[in-house]
């Protein structure tokens, strides 16, 4: 988990983002400065239109900032081209989506192994490593079930396993419990706690105050600016 690596996981300096729609310019982020240290567990909160999705896209290397500097795991990724960004997503980031986004008709093990395929790793090694991560999320015995044969919570665990398989510098979760009931949400949050305890760096976007409070630090966005950045008041025993 990149222990011994001296860089912070994320350094954001004066990040702005402006969308251009024809002649119209829509500024979304007005200058974000923020550091996330290795091993931190951070929640990003904010109402609709606050720019949190845009920020998440930039942190996730799906989009480039209009200006500013973004250093991920010691590497400046502010101005990389599409293929270089894909490479960064593959090597340094793990995504967990609200809707799980698993490949239908493809079993859990193959879903988990997909990033390794794009990384050019051979089938046997893919299988071995997929089983190891599935074990970590407690789904070893569901390895050959397809998504429609799994519960929502199990599907999200498979998605988390997929996000972890490349041993990413940062795990990004976008409303990871948004499609889950309360009890299952609690299970998933417990898994995030466990991953945090294991030293993972986790960044989570959520609307849900209760979920956000499971993180150790909460960043609040409003109109494209960070309005609050504080330790979570609720600590989980």
């Amino acid at each position: 988990m990149n222990n011994g690596n001296p860089h912070p996981a994320i350094v954001l300096r004066a990040i702005t983002k402006t969308y251009k729609t024809g002649a119209l310019e829509v500024p979304v982020l007005h200058g974000i400065d923020c550091n996330v240290a290795r091993g931190e567990y951070v929640a990003i909160m904010g109402p609709s239109g606050s720019g949190k999705s845009t920020l998440m896209n930039i942190i996730g290397c799906l989009d480039r900032p209009t200006s500013g500097t973004y250093v991920l795991d010691g590497e400046d990724v502010s101005n990389l081209n599409d293929n270089a960004l894909a490479e960064i997503r593959l090597k340094k980031l793990g995504f967990v989506f609200q809707g799980f986004n698993l490949l239908a008709r493809t079993d859990a093990q193959k879903n988990v192994a997909l990033p390794l395929f794009y990384a050019g790793i051979n089938g046997r090694e893919r299988q071995r490593r997929a089983m190891a991560v599935l074990d970590e999320v407690g789904l070893r015995d569901r390895a050959h079930h397809k998504p429609n044969e799994l519960s929502g919570g199990q599907q999200q665990r498979v998605a988390i396993a997929r996000a972890l398989i490349n041993d990413p510098a940062v795990l990004l979760a976008d409303e990871p419990t948004g499609n889950l009931d309360t009890k299952t949400s609690a299970d998933i949050m417990a898994l995030f706690d466990k991953l945090h305890d294991g030293g993972r760096t986790i960044l989570m976007v959520t609307h849900d105050e209760a979920i956000a409070r499971r993180a150790r630090r909460i960043i609040r966005l409003l109109d494209g600016l960070i309005v609050a950045d504080e330790p979570s008041s609720l600590t989980v025993p």
């Binding site: 799906l62 293929n83 894909a86 995504f95 989506f97 986004n101 794009y118």
Partner: protein
């Protein structure tokens, strides 16, 4: 992995996959089956022509011309041609007459014809021998009969050589029997049923100097076409006629070429039909790939988010198109070969008694070319479009 995923996608929507490839199946099936039939028709015609000797050609006055009589070739021209045109080995009249032929109490009406050595047709001999140079030099009363004549005149079977058959009062000693040709409705017998030395024929049946046509054999087969021209020019000189009097020549090579020309024309027509069906089927493939990409926008977004590069998305959809068109084309090929083989074995074999083996290598080549073409032309655009999707937009797509 790409192939595995492509198969999974195609099997996920079997009806849609089938409807997409049905155009390819029909197009390739039609092209391959016509290809097979053309191949076996051409094969059976050249097999039939195979009975003709390679080193000979026949010259006859062109039909459909004003003064047909003026063009007539004379028996007396033949020696002159043989002595003055290089490369001519023999010059013999082509002629024949229908005669009632009798052996004992067995009768039959057969075509009695003049033959030379080498014979008109190189059909194998079942009994005895062919007409020899000695038979010709001495105008001996001998005959080589066809398998058909043999069956009629010698119903009891056995070796008939040495027996005498009669054409009117003329007696001929059977010295040989030509073997049975392949059985087929269109079977052509070259050389007549009762062949006698042409010298004998001239003595007994030719009155006056005019002959129907002349047959020449050459020493060097490679210059046969030039020799044909030289002979025609010589005939014009001898007959004292201008180039307006036309003569036709017939030889195996140019006839075969003519037949092949007909089949090339058929092949071009088939290729055009194939091209149209390919276009229609290809548009179908492209359409369904675009639909599939739209349906899977979110999946593509997910793949990109977890690190798939453009090229990897491109490869995935390109391979899916390749699988789709390959499956269609190869099913079409199998059906085409099946139809072609069936028609071969049911109809063509009855017509000519011969069918060419199925052209597997050719069919494979045509099919692979079709599949590659459809994929390249109609699979590239959808794959490029998938690869170019913006991951953020794609992930947001519902």
């Amino acid at each position: 992995m790409y192939f595995e995923e492509a198969v999974r996608m195609l099997l996920a929507n079997p009806v849609r996959t089938f409807l997409t490839i049905i155009g390819l199946i029909i197009g390739v099936g039609a092209v391959i089956s016509i290809e097979v039939l053309g191949h076996s028709m051409a094969g059976s015609i050249s097999e039939t022509l195979g009975a003709l000797a390679d080193n000979s050609f026949i010259i006859f006055p062109g039909t459909m011309q004003g003064d047909f009589q003026k063009a007539a070739i004379r028996l007396s021209d033949l020696d002159a041609i043989k002595n003055s045109v290089p490369n001519i080995a023999s010059a013999t009249p082509v002629s024949g007459t229908d005669e009632l032929i009798r052996y004992g109490h067995n009768l039959g009406r057969f075509f009695l014809s003049a033959d030379s050595n080498p014979p008109f047709a190189n059909t194998p001999i079942a009994y005895g021998r062919r007409i020899s140079d000695d038979d010709i030099a001495n105008a001996v009363d001998v005959t080589v009969i066809s398998w058909k004549a043999y069956n009629r005149l010698f119903p009891a079977g056995g070796d008939p050589t040495g027996s005498s058959i009669y054409a009117g009062t003329h007696r001929y000693v059977v010295v040989g029997v030509r073997a049975q040709p392949r059985q087929g409705a269109l079977n052509v017998t070259f050389g007549g049923d009762v062949s006698i030395p042409y010298t004998t024929y001239v003595r007994e049946y030719v009155h006056g100097d005019r002959i129907l046509a002349a047959r020449f054999t050459v020493n060097d087969i490679s210059t046969l076409p030039q020799t044909e021209t030289a002979v025609i020019n010589r005939i014009r000189e001898l007959r004292q006629v201008g180039p307006d009097v036309r003569y036709q020549s017939f030889d195996k090579a140019s006839f075969t070429q003519g037949i092949n020309g007909v089949f090339s024309a058929i092949t071009i027509v088939v290729a055009l039909i194939g091209a149209v069906s390919l276009l229609v089927a290809g548009i179908g493939v492209m359409n369904i790939m675009l639909v599939s990409i739209t349906e899977r926008t979110k999946e593509i977004g997910t793949r990109k988010a977890i690190g798939a590069r453009r090229g990897q998305i491109l490869a995935q959809f390109f391979i899916e198109s390749l699988m789709l068109s390959s499956i269609g084309c190869f099913i079409g090929m199998a059906i085409g070969l099946g139809i072609g083989g069936f028609v071969n074995s049911v109809f063509i074999i009855k017509l000519t008694g011969y069918t060419a083996p199925l052209p597997y290598a050719q069919a494979m080549a045509i099919t692979a070319a079709f599949a590659a073409f459809v994929t390249a032309v109609f699979g590239t655009y959808p794959a490029l479009r998938a690869a170019a999707l913006d991951p953020i937009e794609a992930l947001r797509y519902e």
